[in-house]
Structure formats: C-alpha cells, structure tokens
C-alpha cells in the first residue's frame, strides 16, 4: 500500500484511530461528555479528510476498494449523516442514566461501516461493511437494555439481518463459483463473455438482490422493520433510515453499473416488482399507523421504493436524480427523527401521534420544522422534497418505465393522507391537560434549524446542488 492509498482512505483511517481513542477515553476519562466531543470532532475531521482524498481520485486501493468521485460523494453524505445523528443524540443521551460513551463510539463505528460500503468494489468489503453496520446497530437499538421494547426490537433486527446476511452470502458464493472472482469489475468483464450462461448466475444474483432488499427494508422483505424502527431510540432510527441504507444503496449502484441489468430481464423484473410493492405497500400501510415512528418507518420503505425508479430507468438523469434525492431524503428524515428525539428521552419517546396534538400552540418553531419535514416527504413546495420528487419523476419518464412512474405517482398521492394527518394534528387545538416533554437544549434546536434552512434552500434554489452532483457522478449507470 502506498502513501497515495493511505491518503485516499484517510477518512476511514481517522475514524478507526478515533474509535480506539474514544474507547480509551471511556475507560480513563471520567468526563461524561468526553466521548460525545471526541466523536463529533472525529467525524468533522473525517469529513475534512475527504478533500485530500479527493485529490487522489480515481484510485483502486487493493482489490477491495475503489475510491472515485461517486464514492466520495456518498461517503461525504454518510459522514454528514453520522455527524448530524451524533449532534442530535447529545440532548437525548444527556437524559440517559447509564454510561453513554459506548453509544457515540458505536455511532462512529457504524458510520465507518457504512462508508466502507460506499467505496466497496469486492464482496469481502461488502460483507464486512454490512457486518460492521449491523453489529453496531444491534447494540445501539438495545441501548437501554432494561427496556423490553429495545430488547425485542434489537432481537428482531438481529434475526432479520442474520437471515439477510446468510442469503446474501449464499448468492455471493454462487456468483463467485461461476466467475472465479469477487471483484465487481471482474464480474462484469466475465459476465459479458459468451459462454457464461450458468444457472448459478440467476439464482446467485436473485439471492443477492433478495439480501440487498432485506437490508434496504423493501417489500416483501420488510417484515419486522416497523417494529425495529418503533422500538429503537429515535436518533438511532434516524440513523438506520438514512446512513445505513445509503451505504447499501451506493454499493448496489456500483455493483449494477458494472453487471448489466437490461430492462425486462428477470433480474430487472425482480427489482421492479420489489420497487412497485414498496411504493404501494409502504404508503398504504402507513395510513393506519398511530405511532409516529412506525409511520415514518413505512414512509421510509416507500421512499426507498421511489429511489429505485431512476435506478431502474437507467437514463441520463438517473445518477444525479438519485444523488439529489438522497441529499434531500437525508435532511428530511434526520430532521423528522431529530424532532421526535428532541422531545423524547431514553425512556419515554414522543411516539403516539396523539401526543403531537396542538404542538404548535406550545412549541411553535419545532412544530413548524416538523411540518416542513412532512411537507418535504409529501413532495410539496417550498421544500427540497418537491424538487427531488420531480427529478425522480423526470428520470423515470426519460427511461420510459411507465409502470414504475405510475406507482411513484400513486404512492405519493396515498402518502398525502397520512402526512397531512400529522400536520393537522399539530396545528389543531391542544388537549386540555398540557402534556409536553420539553424540548432539549440549544444545541439540538440549532442543528434542527440548520437542517430546516437547508431543506427550504434546496426547495427554492436547487440548481447549484444539482449542477454539482451532475459533475461528480458522471460515471455510474
């Protein structure tokens, strides 16, 4: 490994080194806030390290990783997501009676794992990345282990991910058996050779897609996802819904940019069916939810379905549409879960939608922020969600994937109903007894306000970001 390799992987090295330092700090430094500040600064440092890494791009670092602009974009997004989650968790964790050091350590390690996925170009780094993310999440979900809900959610997540990983691995093994290589580019080179018509291939890729869909919580592999999202602490749920999924999605983009996925082929159909089901079932199931976190969970399932539309359309607009929508989705989802977290503590979460009734009267600005986040999820102005959805729609139309575009539209329309219900609840008259759990601290409101600001700016002036993304992501799909 040369110096150039180290520089291109600098963010990862920083995170790994800081993980060890945080662990030592937990042991030797009694200050309760120490691990928070260490984690925050290491994520900022890692983000800053993207700049020198960008100067070495594009580059293959051993067989396992490939660092190019696409990878750095998603890595930046993931690191930013980890940073925001950490910032939003501080107030939440301040109310936790036990030790908090491990929480921030694990958030950092999980972010590391997700970044691995963004730069992965080999089955082994794929597997290690998902493994690191999952392992950290098991503990993060169960972070308050004396609460039944947490343990239940974590066990369900463990069983789900364990099965998913096994299915994924078996698919990878079959593909490896066919091609003799685990590297994405090698696989694509060998896939186009004429004698490769092995039946292993279809089953292998089919299983791989099933495994990926488990991890992305797409229908029909979403079975316990709403339970997990409801049972996990709110900031952790936000993390799972954004950072963990972004890593796998980026890897999926890379994998299938190499291995061709012609429209109408069995694998494409498999993906399309999963996407359509996710968009429809995700939205329909959300309508009857009483719990805000479950509602957001189903909404996140539906949004991943929307993101599949440009991926399957494979048009010119697709890469930047996907990139832009990921940015908007990150901001919106982190904002939404951030508000839930701001009003919760590790024992009582502000989950029941009835608890949001009349929130506007008591907490003006948070209610407005949450309302804007929901507007963005609906795809209404003046938020970035509108631009994002239009972009997805355009990408779908360009690829002429009419069935998927129809599902996108139908899903979004169904979506109006449940999002608007929460907004109406917030702005209606408050119940007679005042319920509130007070919002937490200045830091959290600052972060949330910044997120809201960016969301509005993206809604009104999206062009700079779109242009930047289009320049960065030119070589995928």
């Amino acid at each position: 490994m040369s110096i150039q390799d180290v520089i291109s992987l600098l963010p990862l090295f920083i995170l790994t080194a800081m993980a060890v330092i945080v662990m030592l700090a937990i042991a030797f430094w009694p200050n309760r806030r120490a691990s928070f500040w260490l984690t925050l600064s290491s994520l900022i440092l890692a983000l800053a390290a993207l700049v020198p890494a960008a100067s070495t791009v594009p580059r293959h670092v051993t067989d396992l990783f490939v660092v190019d602009k696409f990878a750095l974009f998603y890595m930046g997004l993931i690191l930013a997501g980890g940073l925001v989650t950490t910032a939003l968790s501080r107030g939440y964790m301040d109310k936790y009676a036990g030790n908090r050091g491990e929480y921030f350590l694990l958030i950092m390690v999980a972010t590391l794992g997700a970044s691995l996925l963004a730069i992965s170009s080999h089955f082994i780094s794929f597997f290690l990345g998902t493994g690191i993310v999952s392992l950290s999440l098991y503990t993060l979900i169960a972070y308050n282990p004396s609460q039944r809900q947490r343990i239940e959610a974590s066990l369900k997540y463990l069983i789900l991910v364990g099965a998913a990983t096994a299915i994924l691995l078996f698919g990878m093994a079959l593909i490896y058996a066919t091609f003799g290589s685990m590297q994405f580019e090698q696989i694509s080179i060998r896939a186009v050779q004429p004698d490769q018509n092995s039946p292993f291939l279809l089953i292998g890729f089919g299983l791989l897609i099933a495994g990926i869909s488990f991890e992305l919580a797409l229908v029909p592999f979403h079975m316990w996802t709403p339970d997990v999202y409801q049972g996990a602490p709110a900031p952790v749920t936000g993390f799972i819904a954004t950072v963990a999924k972004a890593g796998i999605f980026a890897l999926m983009l890379r994998l299938f940019s190499h291995a061709s996925l012609p429209v109408g082929s069995p694998l494409w159909n498999e993906f399309a069916a999963i996407a359509i089901l996710s968009m429809l079932v995700g939205n329909v199931a959300a309508v009857i939810q009483k719990s805000v976190k479950r509602l957001l969970a189903y909404s996140s399932i539906a949004h991943l379905g929307y993101l599949m539309v440009p991926f399957l359309a494979q048009g010119q607009l697709s890469p930047s549409a996907i990139g832009f929508y990921w940015v908007v989705y990150f901001i919106t989802t982190l904002l939404a879960f951030g508000i839930v977290a701001a009003f919760s503590d590790p024992v009582n979460e502000l989950d029941d939608s009835e608890a949001y009734r009349g929130m506007f009267k008591q907490h003006r600005w948070p209610a407005v922020m949450f309302g804007l986040a929901l507007l963005s999820l609906m795809g209404l102005p003046p938020t970035g969600g509108l631009v994002g959805k239009v972009y997805l729609f355009a990408a779908g139309v360009q690829g002429s994937v009419w069935l998927l575009v129809a599902a996108l539209v139908v899903g979004s329309v169904i979506g109006f109903f449940y999002y608007i219900r929460v907004v109406i609840l917030m702005f209606s008259a408050p119940p007679s007894e005042s319920t509130s759990i007070g919002p937490t601290g200045k830091g959290t409101s600052v972060v949330l306000s910044i997120l809201t600001g960016i969301l509005i700016i993206l809604g009104l002036f999206p062009t700079p970001l779109i242009g930047m993304i289009a320049k960065i992501i030119t070589n995928i799909l």
Partner: protein, 102 residues
Amino acid sequence: MASIPMQYVLILSAMLFSLGLIGLIARRNIFFTLLSIEIMLNAAGLAFVAAGARWAQADGQVMFMFILTMAAAEVSVGLVLLLRLYQQFKTLDVDAAKDLNG
C-alpha cells in the same frame, strides 16, 4: 486426492442452507433461531470454500474466515440479547415478544 465435483458440494451447502432456513422460521424458541442462523452462515461458508477450491484460489477460504469472524461476533451479541430477553420476558418464546406489534 481425487476430486469432488463442485456441484455436489454446492448441493450439500444448499441443503444445509434450506434446513437452516426451515429451522429459522419453524422454531419458536429464540435459541434455535440463533442456532439456525449459524447453520445458514456455515452453509454459505461451505459454498465459498468449495468455489474457492474449484478456482484454486485462496479467496474462498479468506471469505470463510471473515464469515467465521462475523458469525462469532453476531452470535455473541445474539446470546447476550437472549439473556436480557429472558430476564425481561421470563420466556424464550419469539412470539411472546409482542410489545411492538401495532
């Protein structure tokens, strides 16, 4: 040593994998669920080693080592969660953990 066709080993690993999958879905005791996950991971590992042997590469074995690592870590966390579950719910029944279904 005479050769074993790769297909046969893959068929074996597929059989073990499906047995694990059946165990995962059909058993109610969480302990057996964790055990079934181990069976599935082991079966996938077997497939990797067989594939590696067919191509005469060490990669299959390397992947198996990483699978081993992951399986060990995952089962440790799974077992400690199981102990906590028993402490909270007083049972190892998967269906008993129904707090979240809503």
